[in-house]
Amino acid sequence: MNGYEEFHSGLEAPKGVWWKPAHKSEKIWFGIAFAWCMVLFAMMPLWHWKGGQNPSGIRSKVDPAAFTARVNEFTATYKVGEDRGMPIVEPPPGSDVYLLGRMWSWTPVLKLKQGVEYTLHISSADVNHGFSLYPVNVNFQIVPGYDYALRVTPSEAGDFRVICNEFCGVGHHLMLGRVIVTDREGREVNRRDPMPGVPQ
């Protein structure tokens, strides 16, 4: 008799009192696992406080028609050129910037400046879209009727793409937008970072 007489399988209905202290190894693992869970939990508030990447943004409701009208006004005000029929818009550094997703385009082409914080308003005129900035690889869900305003600071100059990564109908894979980031002197650079750090 060494105290291990009561083992049974998971098929057997335990009788009497089974509410008994765990074995030592189970207690140890429970302690480790619990501590790890607290680390996991603490990381998120910590990143809100100290980290630079959070999905909070400024979130509000918006009438899709009103948002579309605002995008058109924004485009007309700051248009600096065209790329394949799509207006290129260069807003003043640090201003509110607008991007509209609709079946199946992102408009307009944005021209931003490296190292400046913009407030980027994104919304949809029709169905759900996915904002996926390539090759930075940051991703946000764009829901019609909601203005998702993100404070964003481009940390590198270059020529970027906006992939739609939420299914939005049969032309979904044709939906590709463009963001140009000029360097600190306002020059366009032709460098396209081939890959961000290789992720898992």
């Binding site: 009497g16 009192v17 409701k61 918006v62 605002r70 509110d96 909601y146 305003a149």
Partner: protein, 56 residues
């Protein structure tokens, strides 16, 4: 509905924890309530209480 504790032989006091674990209707109610309050209810409130955009 009264819940009979599952385990426990005659005369043996069944610990509260065991009686709680054996009480699946209570667990079900708690599971539903936690989900409806923390996820669904709070989530609906988050959406409903959102301001309208000013589009500066």
């Amino acid at each position: 509905m009264t819940i009979e504790p599952d385990g426990g032989e005659a005369g043996e006091a069944v610990p509260l924890g065991q009686r709680f674990f054996d009480n699946w209707p209570l667990l079900m109610v708690l599971g539903v309530v936690i989900m409806l309050v923390v996820f669904t209810g709070w989530g609906l409130w988050e959406i409903a209480s959102m301001p309208t955009a000013t589009l500066p």
